[in-house]
């Protein structure tokens, strides 16, 4: 197994996976660090079985997603990632933890008011830093469709920030 290859993969995806986990564990830094380490250990162990036809971003996304669900399943057995995200983002405590400024809290509240698909896209694209090409593989949509969806989501967000009851 090529360590150099894994190192370049690790360097490319560390920040993205960390942020992905961070926004799905309620902003808990210690839990985020533990889960990130476990995800990369799992990724290294599965690296030999990695199929190059699948993109690296969707592969690591799947590992991270399943690991977070398994972690939450210990506390709540019947939960999906969407449920987890919905709970986390909807809670005021999480927003308090994420944001230090009032305008940032308002922004998070506005994101939570978007539809689940739009909210997920806005978070993954603008908060977690995924590229449209990587997102198209993870979310199984074309890159063009995602760009259009993102533009519409941003417009809705602007309206919500002006008037929280607009949408």
């Amino acid at each position: 197994m090529d360590k150099q290859q894994f190192e370049s993969f690790y360097t490319a995806y560390l920040n993205r996976i960390y942020r992905f986990v961070f926004y799905r564990v309620g902003g808990n830094k210690e839990l985020t660090q533990d889960l990130t380490q476990e995800i990369f250990i799992k990724a290294f162990e599965a690296f030999e079985r990695y199929d190059p036809t699948i993109s690296q971003s969707s592969w690591i996304y799947t590992i991270a997603r399943n690991h977070i669900i398994n972690n939450h399943a210990k506390q709540r057995p019947t939960s999906s990632l969407e449920d987890i995200e919905g709970t986390v983002w909807a809670s005021r405590d999480a927003r308090e933890q994420f944001a230090t400024h009032h305008d940032e809290r308002a922004l998070l509240a506005a994101i939570a008011q978007l539809s689940p698909e739009d909210a997920r896209l806005v978070r993954m694209k603008y908060l977690e830093g995924w590229a449209f090409d990587d997102l198209s593989e993870c979310l199984e949509k074309t890159s063009v469709a995602l760009r259009v969806q993102a533009t519409r989501a941003i417009k809705k967000l602007r309206k919500l920030l002006k008037d929280p009851h607009a949408v």
Binding site: K3, Q4, F6, E7, Y10, L14, N15, Y18, R19, F22, Y23, G27, Q33, T36, Q37, F40, I41, F44, F98, A99, T100, D103, E104, L107, L108, V122, Y126, L127, E128, G129, I154, L157, R158, L161, K162
Partner: protein, 280 residues
């Protein structure tokens, strides 16, 4: 709200979730320990690092030794590190670009030699003849050089420069006497006279330089003495330019004042009348 401003706010919010450098370092170390990541090779190999470390250590030691030899009062002419001080002084003189700078440095060296001999006398260390010769050499080297080309060409010296040269000549005589003297007491007494003369030469040279700086220095012609300048100002106070007078004429005027009969200029032969040639 502008689109770009909203994008900026989202970007700023996203920055909260970035991992800190401590965590990154710890995680990397953990994965390297487990063998998942390769251990980073140092940029410089072990042998090169050893060579660099030893070169740095030697360089520091050398610089420290040179600094000590240069600055310490313990390093006197009979000290083992004294040759290093001499070399540093030679380099210092060689690096000086202008003659004025060189003369300043020579004066500093002269002061140093005087200080060294005084310290040796205080510490009751014998002053060897070569140490005294060195002092004399520094004294001669520190003597004022000609300020401009006219002085050099005409070998004219003013009174101050002459006095300093006489002082140096008498120091030379003192050194010669010292070589002939047998008792230590007499030698010490002569050393004191010599250091006094060296200090006097140094202070007079500094005074001379001060005086020359105050006088206007011209690229062409010669330095105008103050008397003539004030006279010219009386005649034409509005004039901003100073007259240039040849030194030969000035010296002649001085001599004429002292003895007008002796220095009377010889009569010129009568000029022959110019005859026009007739054009045919």
């Amino acid at each position: 709200m502008k689109y770009w401003f909203l994008r900026y706010r989202l970007w700023r919010l996203g920055r909260h979730a970035l991992p800190d450098s401590l965590f990154k370092r710890e995680l990397r170390r953990e994965l390297q320990t487990r063998g998942f990541l390769p251990v980073a090779q140092p940029l410089i190999g072990k042998r090169w690092r050893m060579a660099l470390a030893s070169t740095t250590a030697c360089g520091t030691l050398f610089a420290g030794t040179v600094g000590y030899a240069w600055a310490s009062d313990d390093v006197l002419p009979d000290h083992a590190l004294y040759p290093i001080r001499e070399e540093v002084e030679r380099v210092e003189l060689a690096l000086a670009r202008t003659p004025e700078k060189k003369q300043d440095i020579r004066l500093q060296h002269l002061e140093r030699r005087v200080h060294e001999i005084k310290l040796m006398q205080q510490k009751k260390r014998p002053v060897a003849p070569q140490h005294v010769d060195r002092l004399l050499l520094e004294m001669k080297a520190a003597l004022p050089q000609a300020v401009n080309r006219i002085d050099l060409a005409n070998e004219v010296e003013d009174e101050e420069t002459q006095a300093i040269r006489l002082e140096a000549q008498s120091a030379d005589e003192v050194v010669q006497t010292r070589q002939a003297v047998k008792t230590e007491e007499e030698r010490e007494a002569l050393d004191e006279i010599l250091t006094t003369k060296a200090e006097r030469v140094r202070s007079r040279v500094i005074q001379l330089k001060q005086t020359r700086r105050e006088r206007p220095a011209l690229k062409r012609g010669i330095i105008v003495p103050p008397v003539v300048t004030s006279t010219s100002l009386i005649l034409s106070p509005a004039s901003s330019t100073r007259p240039v007078i040849k030194r030969e004429v000035l010296e002649k005027a001085k001599l004429e004042k002292k003895s007008p009969e002796k220095n009377a200029s010889p009569k010129r032969p009568p000029e022959k009348a110019f005859k026009k040639k007739s054009v045919r």
